[in-house]
C-alpha cells in the first residue's frame, strides 16, 4: 500500500518537476563534492616517506574544514527533499493514514530522491576525476590512479548520503505526524544572548596573547600546542558569536532600511540569524583558515628562500591546499545557498504571487532575497578574515610587508568565492520569476 501511495505522490504537483529535480540535483552535488574531496585526500596516503605524514596531517585538517559546509549542504538537500511533500503528507494524515504510514512514505520518498541524486553524483565525480588528477602536489600531478576511489568507498558514500536523507526526513516530518493541523505561525524571532560576545572577545584576546608570546615558547611541541589552541579556540568562538553579530548587523539594517528590498532583507535575516549563519558558516571556517594559515605560509615562504628544496615544495603545496580548500568550501556554500533559496521560493510561492498581484516588481523581491544572503556572507567572510588577522597580528603585519602577493591571492580567492555564491543566487532567479507569475 505504501509503495502505491508513494507512486501517486511522486507525480508532479503544483510546484512542477522542480520540486523533485532540485533535491536530486542537490544530492548529486553533495555526493560529487564529497567523492572529489575524499579522492583528493586519498592520493596523499599513497606516500609513505617522512614528509608524506605531514601531507596526510594537513589533508585531515582540510577535510575537517570541509566537513562544515558539506554537512550544511547535505542538510539543506535533505530538508528540501523532506519539505516538498509536507502538505500532501499532512493531508494523508488527516484522511486517516497512521503516523507509521506517513513516516514510511516520507522516508521512502527522500531515500528514492537521494539515491537518484547520489547515482548522478557518482557519474559527475567520474567526469571530474581527470581534472582533479591534474592538481600538482610534490612537484607532479596527483594522477587518476591516486584520486580514483575504490568500490567500497563509493558504496559507503552512497549509503551515507541516502542515510542522511532518511534521517532528515524522519526528523523533518515529525511535526506532520504529531500535529497535521499545525502551521508555522512564526510568532517570535529567536533571541540570542549578549554573553556570547563577551565569551567570544575573551577567547580572541587569549588567542592574540598566545600568538604574541609564541616566540618565547621553549619547544616546537609547545608552539604547535599554542597554535592549535589559538586556531581551534577562535574557530569555536566564530560559531558562538557569528549568529549574534549577524543579528546585530541585521537589526541595525532593519532600522535604517529606506527601500522595500533592504527592509525585507534585514527582516528576513532577523527571522532566524542562526539559519542565516548556518547557511554561510562554512565560509567562516575557510576564510579564517585562509588568513591564519596563509599568513604563516606567506612568511615562511619569504624567509625560507635559503631553506631546502623539500621545505619550499611543502610551502608551495600548503598554499595550493589552502586555495583548494577555500574554493571547495565556497562551491559547497554556493550550492547550499542555491538549494536553500530554491526551497524558500517553493515554500513562499503563494506569498510571491500575492506580492506580484500587489504590484511589487520582481526585481525588488529578487534584490531582497539576494541581500538576505549576501549581507551575512560578507559579514562572515570579512569578519572571520579580520578575526584571523587580529589573532595573527604580529605575523600579519610582517606578511603585508614581506609577502604582499600571497595575501593578495588569498584576498582575491575570498572575493571570487563571494562571487560564486552570488552566481548561486542568480541561478534561482528564474524560479522566483515563475513563482511570482503564478
Amino acid at each position: 500500500m505504501i509503495a502505491r501511495v508513494a507512486w501517486l505522490l511522486a507525480r508532479p504537483g503544483t510546484s512542477g518537476a522542480a520540486a523533485s529535480l532540485l533535491p536530486v540535483t542537490a544530492f548529486a552535488i553533495v555526493t560529487a563534492l564529497l567523492l572529489v574531496v575524499l579522492g583528493g585526500a586519498q592520493s596523499f596516503w599513497t606516500w609513505s616517506d617522512d614528509i608524506g605524514v605531514t601531507y596526510q596531517a594537513l589533508a585531515v585538517i582540510a577535510l575537517v574544514l570541509l566537513v562544515v559546509p558539506l554537512a550544511s549542504l547535505g542538510g539543506a538537500a535533505a530538508r528540501l527533499s523532506a519539505r516538498r511533500r509536507d502538505d500532501r503528507l499532512a493531508t494523508l494524515r488527516l484522511l486517516g493514514a497512521t503516523p507509521a504510514t506517513v513516516s514510511a512514505l516520507a522516508v521512502l520518498e527522500s531515500v528514492v530522491l537521494a539515491a537518484a541524486g547520489a547515482i548522478a553524483g557518482v557519474v559527475l565525480y567520474f567526469l571530474l576525476v581527470p581534472l582533479v588528477a591534474l592538481i600538482p602536489f610534490r612537484g607532479e600531478p596527483l594522477g587518476v590512479d591516486g584520486v580514483l576511489l575504490g568500490l567500497p568507498a563509493l558504496a559507503a558514500v552512497f549509503a551515507g548520503v541516502v542515510l542522511l536523507a532518511a534521517a532528515s526526513a524522519v526528523l523533518g516530518l515529525r511535526q506532520v505526524v504529531i500535529s497535521p493541523l499545525g502551521v508555522r505561525t512564526k510568532q517570535d524571532a529567536p533571541k540570542l544572548h549578549w554573553l556570547r560576545i563577551v565569551i567570544g572577545v575573551a577567547v580572541i584576546a587569549i588567542a592574540f596573547l598566545m600568538m604574541s608570546v609564541l616566540q618565547v615558547a621553549g619547544s616546537m611541541l609547545v608552539i604547535f600546542a599554542m597554535l592549535g589552541l589559538a586556531f581551534g579556540g577562535t574557530i569555536a568562538v566564530l560559531n558562538l558569536i557569528g549568529p549574534w553579530v549577524i543579528r546585530l548587523v541585521a537589526q541595525s539594517q532593519a532600522r535604517r532600511a529606506k527601500t522595500p528590498a533592504r527592509l525585507l532583507a534585514a527582516r528576513s535575516v532577523l527571522e532566524s540569524p542562526k539559519a542565516a549563519w548556518r547557511q554561510v558558516s562554512g565560509v567562516a571556517m575557510t576564510s579564517f583558515m585562509a588568513v591564519f594559515a596563509g599568513t604563516g605560509i606567506a612568511l615562511l615562504g619569504s624567509f625560507g628562500e635559503a631553506g631546502d628544496v623539500e621545505s619550499m615544495q611543502l610551502f608551495d603545496d600548503i598554499r595550493t591546499g589552502i586555495l583548494i580548500t577555500v574554493i571547495g568550501s565556497f562551491l559547497m556554500v554556493a550550492s547550499s545557498v542555491g538549494v536553500n533559496q530554491a526551497a524558500g521560493i517553493l515554500d513562499r510561492g503563494e506569498l510571491y504571487r500575492s506580492l506580484d498581484m500587489l504590484g511589487m516588481p520582481t526585481p525588488t523581491m529578487d534584490s531582497a532575497r539576494r541581500r538576505a544572503v549576501m549581507s551575512p556572507l560578507r559579514i562572515t567572510a570579512i569578519g572571520s578574515a579580520v578575526t584571523a588577522a587580529i589573532v595573527m597580528l604580529p605575523l600579519t603585519g610582517a606578511a603585508i610587508i614581506v609577502a604582499p602577493l600571497s595575501l593578495a591571492v588569498i584576498a582575491g580567492v575570498l572575493a571570487a568565492g563571494i562571487g560564486v555564491v552570488w552566481l548561486g543566487l542568480l541561478a534561482t532567479k528564474p524560479m522566483l520569476e515563475r513563482a511570482a507569475a503564478g
Partner: protein, 233 residues
C-alpha cells in the same frame, strides 16, 4: 465623464481546455460595493484578476477610469499593469498573505514605500490606518502575533493606505469565524465605500455579499444574474 470606474466587455479567458470566462460584460460604478458570487470554478476569481489587470484576457477589454483619465488596462504592458496595481488598486486576499517577517506597520508602509514614499512618512500613514481599523498599539507586532481578524485588518490597511480608488477582495473573510467575518467586512466597507471608493468582492458567503450594494452571479464563466441584496430577483 463615465460614472463607471471599471468597464469590461466581451472578456474571455481559457486555461487549456477549460473556459474560465466566456464573454463577460460588467460595469462597476464609482463608489459601489459589488459582490461576485458563484460556485467553485464558475470563473469569479479569473474575472477579478482580469478586472484588476493581474491576468490578461484572451479576448475583450477592461477600461479603468481614474482622475487622470481613461486607461485600457488590457492594452497595457506587464510592467504598466504592475504599476497600475501598485498605485491605483488595493488587494485583500483570503489568507491576508502578509509578509510574516515584517511588523504590522511595516506591512502597511511597504505599499507606500513601493511607490517611492520615504519610510518614516509611510509608517506614519500606516499607523494612522491601523489605528482607524482598531489596531492601535499593535503596530509593532509581527503577523504571527495577530489573530486572523486582526491580520485581515492589516491587509485592509495595506490595500487602503495608497489611497486606492478600487479595492479588490478575494474571499476576504473566507478563513474567519462568522462574528469576526462581520467585523472585518464592516471595516472593509467603511474604509472603501464609506470613503467614496469602490469595492469588488469575490465571495461564497451570502452574508458578505448581502452587505454589498450589488451582487452578480456567475456560472460556467458567464454572468447569469444580477440582483440588489434584500430585493427579490
Amino acid at each position: 465623464m463615465s460614472s463607471f470606474v471599471i468597464e469590461a466587455s466581451g472578456l474571455s479567458k481559457s486555461f487549456g481546455q477549460t473556459h474560465a470566462l466566456a464573454g463577460v460584460d460588467l460595469q462597476v460604478r464609482t463608489g459601489e460595493a459589488i459582490a461576485i458570487m458563484g460556485a467553485s470554478g464558475s470563473g469569479k476569481t479569473t474575472l477579478l484578476h482580469c478586472l484588476a489587470g493581474i491576468t490578461r484576457p484572451d479576448a475583450g477589454t477592461v477600461d479603468f477610469q481614474s482622475g487622470a483619465g481613461r486607461v485600457e488596462v488590457t492594452s497595457l504592458s506587464e510592467r504598466e499593469r504592475s504599476r497600475l496595481r501598485r498605485e491605483a488598486y488595493g488587494f485583500v486576499f483570503q489568507q491576508g498573505l502578509l509578509i510574516p517577517e515584517l511588523t504590522a506597520v511595516e506591512n502597511v508602509a511597504l505599499a507606500l514605500m513601493l511607490n517611492g514614499m520615504p519610510r518614516a512618512r509611510a509608517e506614519e500613514y500606516g499607523r494612522g490606518w491601523l489605528a482607524a481599523l482598531g489596531l492601535a498599539g499593535m503596530e509593532d507586532r509581527r503577523i504571527g502575533q495577530l489573530s486572523g481578524g486582526q491580520a485581515q485588518r492589516v491587509a485592509i490597511a495595506r490595500a487602503q493606505v495608497t489611497g486606492a480608488s478600487v479595492v479588490f477582495a478575494d474571499e476576504p473573510t473566507g478563513a474567519l469565524d462568522s462574528a469576526t467575518s462581520a467585523e472585518v467586512m464592516q471595516a472593509l466597507l467603511d474604509s472603501t465605500t464609506g470613503q467614496g471608493r469602490t469595492l469588488v468582492v469575490v465571495t461564497h458567503d451570502a452574508d458578505v455579499a448581502g452587505r454589498c450594494s450589488r451582487i452578480v452571479d456567475m456560472r460556467d464563466g458567464r454572468i447569469v444574474g444580477e440582483r440588489v441584496p434584500g430585493v427579490a430577483a
